[in-house]
């Protein structure tokens, strides 16, 4: 194709968790606007391997915006310049010939770098383990339609449940707060009758674990909502705060 681009990439390279990292320049040429951002990195990596250099490590899997494994802060923004998409859905047509692109990992104390652009988001798993579920064992369920759910609540619960657990909210927040992630799960289950039974313990335990993991506090800047690739709403944080307050008060009594 004739309209290919020439770009300069400044990529964060870090050997391991304990090493210090730095930005390294990589010129790339013949970048097609139809390539995805990660395909552009694939091409760079193939070239690095052919030269016998170490390719850039980055997390990715489904490449269709749903698994939540890809990350990257691109030109200072989690998942790059477009809103409502993950890095794997970002295409090079969002960039111009001659651009310099900064590529860094999701940065937060609770997301330590494993290598280059790959980070450890195990803290999210531990928060879910603290209470992000309904305690129902296999086989113990009643007929699904015995439990009607108001469509409005069902739709809101679904919207909250579309969180992909990528961590862009944390990477974006100046406090590295995980409130959007935690509140999405708290909201989903608090909105549904199935989840109400354990709602109070759930919110207390999940918030407690969130604090233990070292995530910062929420100061209502709303950056997380803007950068969330799935458009998870700040309303969820408000709902979690209410749930938390009620649960704390009841616990004291």
């Amino acid at each position: 194709m004739s309209n290919t681009m020439k770009l300069t990439l400044k990529i964060w390279r870090q050997k391991g968790p304990k090493d210090s990292g730095k930005l390294v320049d990589y010129p790339v040429d013949h970048v097609s606007p139809d390539m995805s951002f990660l395909e552009m990195l694939d091409v760079l990596n193939e070239q690095l391997v052919e030269k016998g250099e170490e390719p850039v490590a980055f997390d990715h899997d489904c490449r269709e915006g749903i698994c939540g494994m890809c990350s990257l802060v691109i030109n200072g923004r989690a998942h790059g310049p477009q809103t409502g998409v993950t890095t794997c859905q970002l295409h090079m047509r969002s960039f111009k010939d001659g651009d310099t692109i900064y590529i860094e990992p999701f940065r937060a104390n609770s997301f330590p770098v494993i290598k280059d652009l790959a980070v450890d988001r195990g803290a999210f798993d531990r928060i879910i383990q603290a209470g992000g579920y309904v305690s129902v064992n296999t086989g113990a369920a009643q007929d699904a339609n015995n439990l009607p759910v108001n469509k409005n609540d069902a739709d809101k619960a679904f919207s909250a449940a579309t969180c992909i657990g990528c961590g862009a909210c944390v990477a974006t927040c100046k406090n590295a707060s995980a409130m959007l992630f935690v509140s999405a799960k708290v909201s989903q289950l608090a909105l549904l009758p199935q989840g109400k039974v354990e709602a109070q313990d759930r919110v207390l335990n999940m918030v407690h674990q969130m604090d233990l993991e070292g995530f910062g506090n929420c100061t209502n800047t709303g950056a997380c909502e803007v950068e969330c690739p799935k458009g998870i709403s700040l309303d969820n944080i408000a709902r979690m705060n209410r749930e938390y307050m009620v649960a704390s008060l009841k616990k004291e009594n």
Partner: protein
């Protein structure tokens, strides 16, 4: 007498599973605590199995190569999950779901397994709702359904276009609950690199910690492989980048037979390939065929005008469009099964009617649906004599609510707006019906080694119907394995912990380490992907949507050559004891290079067409798949005999006692 014993209970079809459950061996709760089970993979099958077995009291270790159990590729399933609930009062039943699945699979699946699947399908929906899975609901608060291909009822439950995500997060929440209790120990960023056999039984695995490269030994009384399909053998597929066949392939090389490896599902509605840089293909859900109409221009001059961008698809009059599925299959129309829809698209494109630059794309058009929905909305809102702008606007809103996320995905990838112009789609590799051969217990030919979900071969025959993969994965994990594993483990209650300091573990670990060393010491210059792409091209061209004996024979030789080239000329950078993604890929591709050959061999030996396996030599005058029930109504299960020898093809005859085999018709 076949060496394969399917262990199907002897009773009437509808009583088999009940009879089995009434008579199966049980393990008492106190004994379960001292029994270890390894579950590899945390998709729908793996996560549901790990959670359910842990709830029962077994001690479970779960492994996934991703950074979290929640990332397994089940998450990407879009359209829905089937269940014979008959909530729509449209005549659905367990038998009909069973029948549709057998017919959809072109009569190449095992009756008993499929009936059991249909029986437990309803329980899955109950279980998921109880977990808080937010399925779509109607205004009365009840669950909503839609239609999928190959059926005449509405039995598909869904959560917008993200059903797989919601079901997987449900299963992930269940496994998380057990991790919190300590009954499941989770090993994320771990990859199984070999299976350990002790005394003829599966007793453990060798896994690599992908963060620090350590090679670990894990023992158990049973090993469950829930590792998904092998579609990535084609390089380009709708699978995730990391989806691989390594675990299943290691089991095969340790004695598990591989069933029907040639049965691959090519999904009709994917976004076409855009260039050589492409790393994967993206599916547009089958649910879109509820409302989208598939067509190509009827006249060649219009095709050329569209390719040269002198005309737009919206310029073409109705009479100049060929809605070929509606034309060829009036009763099922756009909702024919996937294999039929894919072949029909290929037929039109091969005949020169493809609508993009490469000639490999057809239209999926929503204009009619937008108009229909728009009119309904106008009526609802009491708008009399609405203008076309209003109809279109309101119609688009309805379509957006139903398929918004899919339309957004399409727009993001192609840069085109599907609300205004038809989508361009083309078939792509999506799912593999073949997999490890299992008996009714889901046990492979290695005692103690089980395969669940897409990793086994059992329920979909030669073609899987839409919304049935999620059903099967969860059926196997939640409702089948919890019963069937007791049959085996009841004999293991006195065994005690399996030690890992034995010669069998030594040998397996040594082999794994030697292979890693071989990759890293290779003096080649080509990256792993270079070989993977070459393999993919051979597979797509010669073992893809259409196959023939000549092409398959060539493919086998070509794959051998690529494999030799790979081992001589691959370059794997980095070291063994670190996070090393090139090393991970190398191991997976090395296994694909062996599996691809077996797929071709299987396709070559199956001298008939059935479902997704279309041999050009065997077709009806109308170009439909022509089965040979006299010679091929069987499962082909391949036994590994060493890489330098040809594998042995065993047969499991398929006995149809409840369904008459007929030529599949969707006309």
């Amino acid at each position: 007498m076949s060496v394969l014993d399917s262990k199907i209970p002897k009773s009437d079809l509808k009583d088999k599973w009940t009879y089995y459950k009434d008579h199966v061996n049980l393990v008492n709760p106190a004994n379960k605590r001292s029994i270890d089970i390894i579950v590899v993979g945390t998709g729908l099958a793996g996560a549901s199995a790990a959670a359910s077995l842990a709830e029962m009291g077994y001690s479970v270790k779960a492994f996934c190569f991703q950074d979290s159990a929640r990332r397994a590729h089940s998450i990407a399933a879009q359209g829905g999950i089937n269940a014979a609930k008959n909530y729509k009062n449209d005549g659905d039943s367990t038998f009909r779901l069973f029948y549709d699945t057998i017919k959809g699979g072109d009569y190449r699946a095992r009756e008993a397994n499929v009936h059991r699947l249909a029986e437990v399908s309803a329980n899955i929906i109950d279980q998921c709702v109880a977990q808080g899975v937010p399925f779509a609901r109607d205004y009365g608060g009840m669950l909503d359904n839609r239609s999928f291909g190959g059926t005449l009822v509405q039995r598909t439950f869904y959560a917008a276009g993200q059903t797989g995500q919601q079901l997987l997060l449900g299963a992930y929440s269940a496994i998380s609950k057990e991790v919190a209790k300590g009954s499941v120990k989770m090993y994320s960023r771990h990859e199984m690199l070999d299976m350990v056999i002790v005394g003829g039984k599966a007793r453990g695995i060798i896994a690599r910690n992908l963060v620090n490269g350590e090679i670990e030994r894990h023992s158990a009384h049973a090993v469950l492989l829930c590792t998904g399909g092998y579609g990535n053998v084609f390089f380009l597929s709708t699978n995730a980048m990391g989806s691989n066949a390594t675990a299943a392939w290691k089991a095969y090389k340790r004695g598990a037979y591989f069933g029907n490896p040639c049965y691959t599902q090519i999904h009709p509605t994917c976004i076409p390939v855009s260039g050589d840089h492409q790393s994967k293909l993206t599916l547009m859900s089958e649910s879109l065929r509820n409302d989208g109409r598939i067509w190509v221009p009827a006249k060649k001059e219009d095709v050329m005008a569209i390719r040269e961008k002198r005309k737009k698809p919206t310029d073409l009059a109705e009479a100049d469009r060929d809605y070929y599925l509606e034309r060829r299959y009036p009763s099922f129309g756009n909702l024919v099964p996937r294999d039929v829809a894919s072949r029909a698209a290929k037929e039109r494109c091969d005949a020169g009617h493809g609508v993009n630059a490469t000639g490999e794309a057809v239209y999926l058009d929503f204009a009619a649906a937008i108009e229909r929905y728009g009119k309904i909305e106008c009526t609802k809102k009491g708008i009399v004599n609405p203008d076309s702008m209003t109809i279109t606007r309101l119609g688009r809103e309805v379509v957006k609510e139903k398929y918004g996320n899919l339309f957004d995905m399409y727009m993001q990838i192609t840069g085109e707006n599907p609300y205004e112009t038809p989508m361009m789609i083309y078939p792509a590799v999506h799912y593999t019906m073949g997999g490890l051969w299992v008996d009714y217990n889901l046990m492979t030919t290695i005692p103690g080694c089980y395969a669940l979900g897409e990793a086994n071969f059992s329920d979909h025959g030669a073609n899987r119907l839409g919304a049935s993969a999620l059903m099967q994965g969860l059926a196997d994990g939640y409702f089948v394995i919890p019963y069937t594993i007791g049959e085996y483990l009841a004999n293991d209650i006195r065994t005690g912990k399996i030690p890992t300091n034995t010669p069998e573990f030594d040998e397996a670990e040594k082999q794994v380490k030697e292979r890693i060393e071989k990759f890293l010491s290779s003096k080649g210059t080509k990256p792993v992907d270079y070989f993977h792409k070459r393999l993919g091209k051979v597979m797509w061209n010669k073992c893809g949507m259409a196959r023939n004996a000549e092409g398959l024979k060539q493919a086998i030789e070509e794959i051998k050559a690529i494999r030799a080239d790979f081992w001589a000329n691959v370059r794997v950078t980095g070291a063994a004891n670190e996070f090393n993604q090139e090393l991970e890929k190398a191991g997976r591709v090395a296994d694909f290079l062996e599996l691809g050959e077996l797929m071709c061999r299987d396709a070559l030996n199956r001298n008939e067409s059935c479902g997704g396996h279309f041999r050009e030599e065997y077709q009806t005058e109308e170009g439909e798949a022509l089965r040979d029930d006299n010679h091929f109504a069987h499962v082909a299960a391949w036994e590994f005999k060493g890489l330098e020898n040809e594998p042995v093809r065993h047969k499991e005859e398929l006995v149809f006692e409840n369904i008459k085999l007929v030529q599949r018709s969707y006309k």
